[in-house]
């Protein structure tokens, strides 16, 4: 192994192995590793130290570089994904090119996952040896600066998206807010009150919604979806598909004259916003405070459309209808049955993904009889039922037309359950108690709340629990076995019987009630996987989007410039969601205000002399960074387009493509290194 770099100046390596307190030292004999590395050619000094990432640790590196004229630095500590940047900076501060540094992962990949101290130490030596051999081949590199486009895309118009968009817009940044539904507001817009303060969801949300609607810095596209994402941090190119609502949003004043004038006198189509409890017409507006205040025509049911679709996916106009709505609209002429999908293309520098969650499908727990017994409801249905603007105007009238005298609320439906979802949905305990309160308020019924554990971590949450106890809600500890209409006793007749083991009392109880409410848990959106691919993110095993680091980068993803906010990252309540949305916005602002990002200089380039022009590499580049120059009969790589995957390097049949930071000689010497040590 040569200790010459490019046959020129002698290589002088400084090696540091970090104890990371006990995290590493407990399983790896750090002094021994240091002792071993000291013997290798090119190594000038070899130290072990308690916390390399600490201030003194970094100073140590800098001093040594000066004092011992080091020109290479290797640190064996945690994952480079965590601290590579830290030590590169230290190396630079010491007066070296930051890329004369290499990092060895002996914590995540070693001390934390192994149990035999001897083996772990051997492994650490091998990995360190490899780094020593590798770093000798490192070359001085310049980081590439990429301009940041100050515009931001926010995907999802729930409270998370709304807050993030507002924060950025108020900071003077251009924001594109894209929402799939006809109106922003998300789940929160459907809630009646919010725990624990019981202030009305609409009252706190709708002002923010209308602000968004009219904010000069925000372009709001509802009833729209992101269809394509190209580029990288700083310069994304986005395609958004705007679905036709058959109303020109610019002409529609939101007067809603068209709705009463519709040929359908009575609403007769299931109303999504009210969870199907209410009915709407073919022309409708989701809810009174919907933003934007623009009605929508549903071509599936509107008489002016044929069933089925045109080849291009657009709806088929039949012109069979009298079009009374058009008359009602008058000379506003906002109604346009010929609308088709519009594809908008925008350029942004950062993206905030706030696509939210979906509630657990109660029919997946048949033992609770949802869909079988008509008086079994989901929590979200109750939210609408108790809501003044809901289908019943706030009166709790069951599907059988009666008002309930006794109500059972079952917690953890589709949460903490190995048959469905293992995780705790975090909000159910609280909203169940909120609903208990509201139902009692509306009906004065007896409320039974069936819980496994009462989870109330949060400001004023435990107090809210005590308040409910005082209000006389009956809390029964135990997972409900089943909900049945099979009466054993006269008093059970015509009722829904909740069978549960009361684990506090220690016996099985049968509690007859009129109404059952299922506190359904939170799940990833049905299309979370597609969205993940669209934005090149990862999902956790449960399907929520994966943050870059659970503690230190909770709103970042593995793709630079793409951030997470709200329940798409995992179940959380409104305060947490808003906080996270703010954090995501802040992350974006950091880049925007710096104006550029420094990119890993791990791009590839072609050795012009050596390239034979065989064209084998050209089809390989997904970014079309490689082009063939007909006049010179050579291939060339456009460094600006190259993302540094190295695929072309691995495939060049004459070894004429080089990748910075991951070149053949670096990797071969790394292989030699790990194998050199037995």
């Amino acid at each position: 192994m040569s200790v010459k770099q490019n046959g020129k100046e002698e290589v002088r390596i400084g090696f540091y192995v970090c104890h990371c307190g006990h995290n590493i030292a407990a399983m790896v004999d750090c002094p021994e590793v240091a002792k071993y590395i000291e013997t290798l050619p090119g190594v000038v000094l070899s130290r072990d130290y308690k916390y390399m990432c600490s201030e003194p640790g970094q100073d140590l590196v800098q001093q040594d570089i000066r004092e011992y004229k080091l020109n290479r630095v290797v640190v064996a500590s945690c994952s480079p994904l965590l601290h590579e940047h830290t030590f590169r900076s230290a190396t630079e501060a010491g007066g070296l090119n930051p890329f004369f540094f290499h990092m060895v992962n002996i914590r995540e990949h070693n001390s934390w996952v192994h149990t035999d101290r001897k083996e772990a130490t051997e492994k650490a030596k091998g990995l360190a040896h490899a780094a020593i051999q590798r770093v000798a081949h490192h070359k001085a590199l310049e980081t590439k600066r990429v301009e940041i486009n100050p515009a931001v895309l926010v995907v999802g118009g729930g409270i998370a998206g709304i807050h993030a968009a507002m924060t950025l817009a108020n900071a003077g940044k251009k924001v594109y807010l894209v929402e799939r539904e006809p109106s922003i507001g998300g789940h929160m817009a459907k809630f009646d009150k919010t725990f624990p303060t019981l202030d009305c969801a609409a009252c706190i949300l709708t002002p923010k919604m209308s602000e968004v609607g009219c904010h000069p810095n925000i372009t709001l596209w509802t009833y729209s979806e992101v269809t394509k994402v190209d580029g990288f941090v700083g310069n994304f190119t986005i395609q958004v598909k705007r679905k036709p609502r058959y109303i020109d949003p610019d002409l529609c004043t939101g007067c809603q004259e068209c709705i009463p004038s519709c040929v359908f006198k009575e609403p007769k189509f299931s109303d999504e916003f009210n969870e199907g409890l209410g009915k709407r017409k073919p022309v409708f507006i989701s809810f009174p405070q919907a933003t934007p205040q623009v009605v929508v025509i549903d071509p599936e049911v509107c008489l002016n459309f044929k069933r089925g679709k045109n080849p291009d996916g657009s709806a088929i106009v039949s012109d069979k209808c009298k079009k009374t709505c058009v008359d009602a609209c008058g000379d506003k002429k906002a109604i346009d049955f010929t609308q088709k999908d519009i594809v908008e293309e925008i350029k942004v520098g950062n993206i905030i993904v706030a696509t939210g969650f979906k509630t657990f499908d109660a029919e997946r727990t048949p033992q609770y009889g949802y869909g079988k017994h008509k008086n079994v409801y989901t929590a979200l249905e109750i939210e609408r039922l108790v809501n003044a603007s809901g289908p019943t105007g706030g009166d709790v009238i069951m599907r059988d037309g009666k008002t309930p005298k006794s109500i059972g609320i079952i917690h953890c439906v589709g949460s903490r359950d190995y048959k469905t979802n293992k995780w705790c949905s975090r909000v159910c305990c609280m909203y169940s108690m909120k609903l208990a309160h509201l139902l009692k308020e509306h009906t004065d019924a007896e409320i039974y709340s069936f819980y496994i554990d009462m989870r109330t971590p949060g400001k004023g949450y435990e107090e809210f629990y005590n308040k409910m106890l005082e209000e006389g809600v009956h809390f029964v500890r135990g997972r409900v076995g089943e909900v049945t209409d099979w009466a054993f006793t006269p008093e059970e007749e015509g009722k829904l019987v909740i069978r549960v083991e009361d684990t506090l009392a220690g016996y099985v109880r049968r509690i007859p009630v009129d109404m059952v409410v299922l506190a359904t848990g939170l799940e990833p959106q049905a299309d979370a996987q597609d969205v993940r691919r669209l934005f090149n993110m990862s999902c956790g095993s449960e399907g929520f989007f994966l943050e870059r680091h659970p503690k230190l980068a909770p709103v970042n993803t593995f793709s630079d410039g793409i951030y997470l906010a709200g329940c798409c990252q995992g179940p959380k309540d409104i305060p947490d969601t808003v906080a996270q949305a703010g954090a995501a916005a802040a992350e974006a602002l950091v880049l925007i205000d710096r104006g550029y990002i420094e990119q890993e200089p791990n791009t590839a380039f072609i050795l012009d002399e050596e390239c034979s022009g065989c064209k084998s590499c050209l089809p390989l580049c997904p970014y079309t960074a490689i082009t063939y120059q007909e006049d010179r009969k050579k291939a060339v790589i456009n460094e600006a387009l190259c993302k540094g995957c190295g695929t072309c390097v691995g495939a060049c049949p004459s070894g004429s493509i080089v990748q910075n930071l991951f070149d053949d000689d670096e990797i071969f010497s790394e292989i030699a290194g790990v194998m050199a040590y037995e």
């Binding site: 192994m1 040569s2 010459k4 490019n6 000798a136 081949h137 071969f668 010497s669 030699a672």
Partner: protein, 509 residues
Amino acid sequence: MDKATQDAFNTGNALANAAYQSKKRNVTIDPVTRLEGHGKIDIYLDDKGDVERAYFQVPELRGFEVFSLGRPAEDMPQITSRICGVCPTAHHMAATKALDDLYKVEPTSAGRKIRELVYNAFTLEDHALHVFVLGGPDFIVGPEAPPELRNIVGVIGKVGLEAGRKVISMRRRVREIISYFGGKVVHPVLGLPGGVSKALKKEDLPKFQQLATDGVEFAEWTLQIFKDIVLKNPDYVKMILSDTYTHKTCYMGMVDEQNKVNFYDGKLRVVDCDGKEVCKFTAQQYREFVSEHVEPWSYMKFTFLKQRGWKGFVEGPDTGIYGVGPLARLNAADGMATPKAQAACEEYFKTLGGKPVHHTLATHWARVVEMIQAAERIEQLLNDPEITSPDVRRAPTSVPKEGMGVVEAPRGTLFHHYQTDERGCITMANMVVATGNNAARIAMSVERAAKGLIKEGHVTEGLLNKVEMAFRAYDPCLGCATHALPGHMPLMAHIYDHRRQLVQVLEQS
């Protein structure tokens, strides 16, 4: 890639090699087994000091048949040509013909003619090489001449630099025909089942036609030189006719419909030592007529006529041993296929006392006669209008299974035999080569020469040259014989007394 990188990578191999070399630092070979790429003769004397037994050994084996296993059949013409760089075209062509048979496809007429053109060009230049560079010097410069002169340089000295240039440039020009179609002269690539890879462009025809005419002239010129230098010298003629260089064996050669000599295609005809036809068969039938015998003291296998069986190294009316090559081809055929060659052939038999000719050294003469036929055939083919047809290949369609191919290599008959799976990958490859066919006769010639030249333990320095002449006449390609050592191989002899003690080691000169 910078120096450091090179080093970094090479460490691995360097280590392996170092480990290896450290272990093998001081390689020394018992002088008795040292061969240095020589053909080796072990001569054992009896108590009277006369030759009791002489072993002619071929010392290496590469095993092409085995490492051809699993290869796509179409690679065989190129793989097997590496058996021998002196006669690559012979193996290339035998393999190509085996592919025709394997894929059951007839080459197009033009394709066949181009193959035959290339093959005759090869025969011409290879014979020329032997006459002027390998075997010929023995005569042209003279057997007694010092070794440093018995080579091309010596020949040039004898026939004059001009003639030397003529030989060299003629060979080069003839070889251009091969490289035109085959890309390379050594290890050409033209052969494919159903024809050849490349056609002859009309505009290139004239220069080759000129060459063809010169070729015939050159072949006749060569014959003249042979007559002037060899036949006019009574000692040489006496030596050719001497008992030492004479064996009565059978002879095998390829013949066309009219039983005339053909190098590229035809049936194989075998005559006995009285010139009577013993059998006539196609390549596909070779296993019914030809078998190989194994001796424990040589890597070379000894071929014999299956029906007659292996009777040891014996000659005479019922021997199973046969010769191949120019001498054998002329004996096995009813004459040459072209006029000038036929004339030369008749003179040859007249001078040597009729058919068949058993004098090994006459092979040199027969070789020159064949040069004339090759040259004439080239001329015929280049004047055939079809030679420039672009229709040089017919793609096979049938599923491959088994195929055999045979050609007359300059040194003699050469068989290739392959079996494949349905993908056309080799599952069995067998090759019976010219020198294998001659092996038994060579071994006998060598022993005969030894016996004739060593009496009462009196071994002369010149012995080896004489022995070697018996051996060189065959232009033996031991490379082919064992798919091992290359074309022409200097000799060395170890002589043991009746106590089996090594008394003398002879190298040439």
